[in-house]
Subunit: 298 residues, 2 copies
Amino acid sequence: MSDFVRIVEVGPRDGLQNEKTIIATADKIALINRLSATGLPVIEATSFVSPKWVPQLADAADVYRGITKRSGVDYPVLVPNLQGYERAREVGVSHIAVFSAASESFNRKNINASIEESLARFAPVMVRARADGVRVRGYVSTVLGCPYQGDVDVADVVRVASALHQMGCEEVSLGDTIGTGTPTKARAMLRAVAGEVPMKALAVHFHDTYGQALANILACIEEGVRVVDAAVSGTGGCPYAKGASGNVATEDAVYMLHGMGMSTGVDLDSLVDTGRWLAALLGRETSSKVTRARSPDA
Amino acid sequence: MSDFVRIVEVGPRDGLQNEKTIIATADKIALINRLSATGLPVIEATSFVSPKWVPQLADAADVYRGITKRSGVDYPVLVPNLQGYERAREVGVSHIAVFSAASESFNRKNINASIEESLARFAPVMVRARADGVRVRGYVSTVLGCPYQGDVDVADVVRVASALHQMGCEEVSLGDTIGTGTPTKARAMLRAVAGEVPMKALAVHFHDTYGQALANILACIEEGVRVVDAAVSGTGGCPYAKGASGNVATEDAVYMLHGMGMSTGVDLDSLVDTGRWLAALLGRETSSKVTRARSPDA
């Protein structure tokens, strides 16, 4: 099995969209440029959702236009619908991400649509993407628990992940949105999905709300996944999940993977510097324990 | 393999000895009584080191005398030498813990003795303990890294763990004192030690300084260990390690193990309440992410 793990940095989108402190466009651009300089191969840059939904990312077009497109680095952006797709295409986006929850209740409460309806909403986006040669990533959220219905059936996760893959998503990221998952369940869920979607096309996406993210990543790495989503400084969090914890901190995931003898292409020192810089910008302590442990004041 | 994991709660000793806020004797007694009410089977109660070394635990005799000895619960105490052993015996202690680092540099810097000398210092304690029918636990520290020499040879860990076991320690706890360890190394270290000391006689002890504790516990559980040290609210930390993080929080370890279908006998709700109570007493935020996620304010 390969010892290379591709880290998908989701801080500028999934992280920032759940942070209260509004960050200036220039700072978002600086963040992404700093991140690409660390060696990260994929940086989710922003989201072309309606600014009414996510005011933090209202400057999506300016951010995407402003970043230095480093050769060899992917900059996917989230799009919720055809309108978002068109806004993204206007600024030259060539890699997008679409999403659905695995939980019926979560979909209904949050986007007022069933899973089937939310997938159907993406069908025209997928058609256009294929015609335009745009690559598509798919997110499945609430794969290990839902704030409304509690348990989520693994069969539902498999069904939604397969549907996204069959619709043309080259990669499907499995997200524990509320961070309640534990390693045995994470592994069983991944194994079940890998029965329908090739492991090579799967990524895992953990939030650290209950402190389980690294253990869950370890279990999934052991199971064979080689793409891991993370957010520098552990920004974000899910507005529907209690607790202050957001995405797993990229620094801590990279530290673990390197310690396990795996490679990521990421320079940890440079990543720690960037995480520290971002935490200062957000006016809060970093959620990365590696960064805290390396602090000169510690 | 058994699905029961014995949690050894080390908060009242390893946790508190590294906390700056001095806790009243009555509060320490209340903490231990609350912990035993959660179903924890082993609670390291205090340390009979010289009060000059650890002022926080100068009231060891009063604490030990004051706690309610719940039937079926073990209350080991740390003893550094024969003098400490005698003080402990005076108040009826029947279970002690002794210690040595696996790193020669750590021993020399901290107790001004070689590993051989520090083990020799415990020989008369072991003789007395055997004669008195006192059970002994052994700690090996710096098993995955040392703040002075960096890497620690696995052979040194095996040698010290074997020596403690042969001297009469019924259980040997392997401690990543500075929290730099990662899962693959933790597992390899445990496997090597288990080649010389029966797995049933081994425990793992992780600090969460670099956020790796739960992932390391997972790797060691997979390898077969069934005894895990933890400290409620994640108190402690090593004064020689950078960063604010201490022991892995018992709440987070129990949450993970229960989520994995393992049993611990611990009531998580009651443990979370106790952790919250202790954090308030210490005047700091809990380090348990589970407790934070369950906070009514979260």
